[in-house]
């Protein structure tokens, strides 16, 4: 995960509100961010909620998993998969998605939005 110097941390939700081994969607101004709690690996990830394939606001409802070591999410519409770490599209030609840093403090989840 990248550490940014001037990160603005958005308070996303309580740890308890996140879905274990799945995603939830966070509204941040006009943006939608998908937040994933990869409980199996004890890792958190955040990406844009929009799937670039057909530009659907949906990735938070996608299924997460791994390809080798790489954590990934699969879009529910046509099962394109994206790396949760880098945002890279793992199923060929589609473009990458944006990822955000996440931190957890005192039971609250924060997403680095800038």
């Amino acid at each position: 995960m990248k550490t940014l110097t001037n990160t603005k941390w958005l308070t996303a939700c309580h740890v308890d509100d996140a879905v274990e081994n799945g995603g939830v969607c966070i509204k941040h101004e006009d943006q939608q961010i998908a937040l994933f709690y990869f409980t199996r690996r004890n890792e958190w990830f955040a990406t844009q909620n929009e799937c670039p394939h057909k530009r659907q606001m949906i990735l938070s409802r996608g299924m997460i998993g791994s390809l080798g070591e790489e954590p990934k999410v699969a879009c529910p519409f046509h099962k394109k998969t994206f790396s949760l770490r880098t945002g890279e599209c793992l199923s060929g030609d589609e473009c990458a998605i944006k990822t955000f840093p996440v931190k957890v403090e005192d039971g609250l989840v924060y997403i680095g939005v800038e």
Partner: protein, 829 residues
């Protein structure tokens, strides 16, 4: 592209040469074939053909953005634009071509582009913002690709203008063009044929195109794709022989009129032909490199067969696509409805395939191309080659590849033969197509041969006696059936337990839904219990089918299709209250579309209150048991088909299986419920019921087969319990009953022996297991709305749970709503 390949090939053969590359473009060699991906935001980094440090690691000097401007063939030196002067022993032209720009008045206007380089695309992208109407001159391969790029850039009204009376005039015939044109127009691309452009009008910027027939087309932007022009200008200036219509003339060793100067790729003219594809260019690179290393290899011309996906439509042409009577016999297959056109040209004696074309469906392209290139003798009914895709295609392809000779060229981009691929499997232990790609480079070019590489790997592994297990995915080295047995034996109940105990890694979108469905078939517990919800397929996870735009559909169960007026009214009221689109489904019930995730629990609360329950339209479970009205009203009805349908639907509702399954009951042999197209269908006879099994509608319709005749209701249900349990236990994931039976050794006779005669001695166990599943049934929507943790998941934003997704868009149609179209035009379907 070809210049770079030449360097690779030369270095493989000898390290005695010092290589110096000059390029006109500011970028190192990139993959022009996939140039359009750049429009769809593929980073340039991924289009490069080699890493940045490849050149230095091979001791190659690379001069970018510095074209050669002068060549002295007698003193053997070149001079670059930046003034570098160098002597050479050998010189290779791989200067490619530029777009041919016809001399139309107004062509210099702003908004007119060509489509060849990264720089062209950058200009096009920069101009496209805000453009409404786009046009492309040229309806060939590249023109259609450019049109697709304009659509991908969001220019929804794009037209292609072609001078000839058909699209892709060099590859396909008139009838094929008509089918392609229809398909393209359905995708929003207009084609104008037999149109010659007289002028481009507009002040400064393009606004209109005027045609010679007097018609006009509005366009804010135009891409010219009227053909290519070999870049032979330097050769011409230096006294090297070029053809009358361009192209540097070469012999079969790729030598120009100066024996130590070579030309390869799109700038080379071999036997009066320019080869505008990469595969022949790569072969030329191989020939030139061999000649320079004093080997003996010659270029023998090249097959110009192509297969591509244009805006999601498969188009392929191979061999001689146009040859006609009396030199050939032609077989044509056309399905206007589906937009499929196939033409095969056979030798007059019908023994060999000479060429053909495929539009709309091109799965058999590789096999057909191999059949042409290797002069394979055709089967007795050559039409099977085009219709054959309907039957088990895996089978016909594998017997097909076995018949290919060892030197059959499989990957024409990289020149890899069947023998090399099989060798990679036997000697280098490659066990899948990816490994073969790494070892041999097969499939790394255009990728068209990958399906065939896969088939070859499977065939070779089988020949070696290696057991090809149908494993689930990288996380489970087990087949579905093995996993099913293990889950039962160890009484495993959650996905995580199963992954920890029997798998590895963190799971994926293949194994999670599969395991969830196994768990559901085995225990029939509420599928959304904590820990299992995120392992469900998206539709199961939200107990509804997701639709375009991210809303859901709501389908309450209406057993047998029978519904009381008061319940109809409730459906109407609910649909009205939540603004849902309503439609009668093909399964005799009512679907309400366009529900926001947040609304689902409220909608179901009202439906359940009125006595409805989940219809499992989202699950791999029983869908509908359709009925005809039967003996209660119909003058021909033999028994009460509606009551029996309701009984069956209520018995098997909610039971999870490898795939969805459907049923129907008809009151007589007129068969108004279409029972013979169902996974199990029941038809009334004078003496009882006839039970049919393993039918299928859908994409490969298949009639159900008679399992037992004239049986009473109780027997029928007993047989069904056994039949369904046998299916649930043994079918592969996502296999309908028809396909399951097709793969079963012994077919229907074996199945009848198992179900009716209990040949496996399993009947009692299966009946008991089924009884347990039936007892465990509850309506999962009821459970979902009553369990707070589950209900909480039905909201779009976790931080503002009451707010609905504002990105959802609808449009109006016939007084109801429909989902707005996808936000972007599709890229590859």
């Amino acid at each position: 592209m070809v210049g770079n390949k030449f360097c690779e090939k030369l270095l493989e053969k000898s390290t005695d040469f010092k290589l110096i590359i000059f390029s006109d473009e500011p970028y190192r060699a990139y993959d022009r074939v996939h140039l359009s991906d750049y429009i769809n935001k593929k980073p340039l980094e991924e289009l490069y053909m080699c890493s940045e440090d490849w050149y230095s690691s091979k001791n190659i000097s690379l001069h970018l953005n510095d074209p050669i401007v002068h060549l002295d063939v007698t003193k053997q030196y070149v001079e670059s634009g930046r003034g570098i002067k160098l002597n050479y022993d050998y010189l290779v032209f791989a200067t490619g071509s530029s777009a041919f720009v016809p001399n139309i008045p107004g062509i210099e206007k702003e908004g007119v582009f060509v489509y060849r380089t990264i720089e062209d695309l950058d200009l096009i992208k920069a101009y496209a913002g805000g453009v409404q109407k786009g046009a492309v001159i040229g309806g060939g391969l590249l023109g259609l690709e450019a049109a697709k790029a304009l659509m991908d850039l969001g220019i929804s009204k794009t037209s292609v203008i072609e001078f000839a009376p058909r699209l892709m005039p060099r590859q396909i015939d008139q009838a094929a063009s008509t089918v392609l044109q229809q398909k393209l127009s359905a995708l929003g691309l207009e084609t104008l044929l037999s149109k010659a452009t007289a002028s481009i009008e507009g002040d400064q910027k393009i606004q209109h195109l005027h045609f010679t027939d007097g018609t006009i087309l509005e366009a804010d932007m135009l891409v010219i794709s009227a053909g290519i022009r070999p870049r032979d200008e330097l050769a011409l200036k230096s006294g090297i022989v070029v053809g009358p219509r361009g192209g540097i003339v070469v012999n079969k060793h790729m030598q120009t009129s100066e024996p130590n100067i070579f030309a390869i790729g799109e700038c080379a003219l071999f036997e009066e032909m320019i080869y505008g594809l990469v595969a022949p260019g790569y072969e030329m690179a191989e020939v030139a490199a061999t000649t320079i290393c004093e080997g003996d290899k010659s270029f023998k011309g090249f097959d110009m067969s192509t297969k591509l996906k244009l805006i999601g439509v498969d188009v392929a042409s191979f061999g001689d696509p146009f040859i006609e009577e009396p030199y050939a016999r032609t077989i044509v297959f056309e399905d206007k409805n589906k937009g499929i056109y196939k033409r095969l040209n056979l030798s007059p004696d019908g023994k060999h395939l000479l060429g053909g074309m495929l539009i709309g469906e091109a799965n058999s392209y590789n096999m057909l191309l191999q059949t042409v290139n290797n002069r394979l003798v055709l089967p007795e009914n050559p039409e099977d080659l085009v219709f054959g895709e309907r039957s088990a295609s895996g089978q016909s392809a594998s017997t097909g590849i076995a018949a290919l000779p060892d030197d059959a060229l499989i990957c024409s981009c990289e020149g890899i033969t069947k023998a090399q691929i099989c060798h990679a499997v036997t000697e280098q232990n490659c066990e899948n197509a990816d490994a073969v790609k790494k070892c041999t480079k097969a499939g790394s070019g255009c990728g068209g041969c990958v399906p065939m590489v896969k088939d070859l790997v499977t065939m070779t592994l089988k020949q070696q006696g290696k057991y090809i297990r149908n494993v689930i995915c990288e996380h489970f080295q087990l087949s579905r059936q093995e996993l099913y047995d293990l889950v039962k034996i160890h009484e495993l109940k959650t996905y995580d337990e199963i992954l920890d105990g029997l798998g590895k890694g963190d799971g994926c979108e293949v194994c999670k839904p599969l395991v969830s469905s196994l768990l559901a078939s085995t225990w029939n517990e509420m599928i959304l219990q904590k820990g299992n919800d995120t392992a469900q397929d998206s539709n199961d996870r939200f107990l509804a089918n997701i639709q375009k735009g991210g809303t859901y559909s709501v389908v309450p169960r209406i057993p047998g299709g029978e519904i009381r007026p008061d319940k109809l009214i409730v459906i109407g009221q609910v649909a009205q209250k939540y603004g849902l689109y309503t439609k009668i489904t093909g399964g005799q019930r009512i679907d309400m579309f366009g529900a926001h995730l947040n609304d689902l629990p409220f909608i179901w609360e009202e439906l359940i209150e009125a006595g409805f329950e989940s219809g499992h339209a989202y699950g791999k479970a029983l869908r509908t048991v359709k009925s005809c009205v039967g003996s209660t009203w119909c003058r021909f009805g033999l028994h009460d088909s509606v009551s029996f349908a309701i009984r069956i639907e209520e018995r098997y509702r909610g039971i999870r299986a490898p795939h969805k399954f459907k049923s129907a009951v008809s009151g007589c042999i007129r068969e108004c419920a279409e029972a013979q197209s169902k996974d199990f269908g029941i038809i009334a006879t004078e003496k009882g019921w006839n039970l049919y099994v393993c039918g299928n509608g859908g994409s490969k319709p298949q009639h159900a087969l008679l399992l037992a005749s004239d049986i009473d209701s109780e027997t029928c249900i007993r047989y069904l319990d056994r039949f369904l349990m046998f299916y649930i236990r043994t079918a592969d994931p996502l296999t309908r009953t028809a396909t399951w039976l097709n793969k079963m050794d012994g077919g229907i006779d074996y199945l009848r022996n198992v179900i009716v005669n209990d040949s496996l001695d399993m009947a009692q166990q299966w009946e008991e297991e089924m009884e347990k599943l039936i007892l465990a049934y509850t309506c999962e929507w009821k459970a979902a709305i009553e369990t707070p943790q589950i209900r909480k998941r039905f909201s779009h934003f976790v931080n503002v749970p009451d707010e609905k997704d504002t990105s959802v868009r609808f449009e109006e149609m016939r007084g109801q709503k429909k989902a707005a179209d996808w936000n972007t035009p599709s890229i590859t379907s």
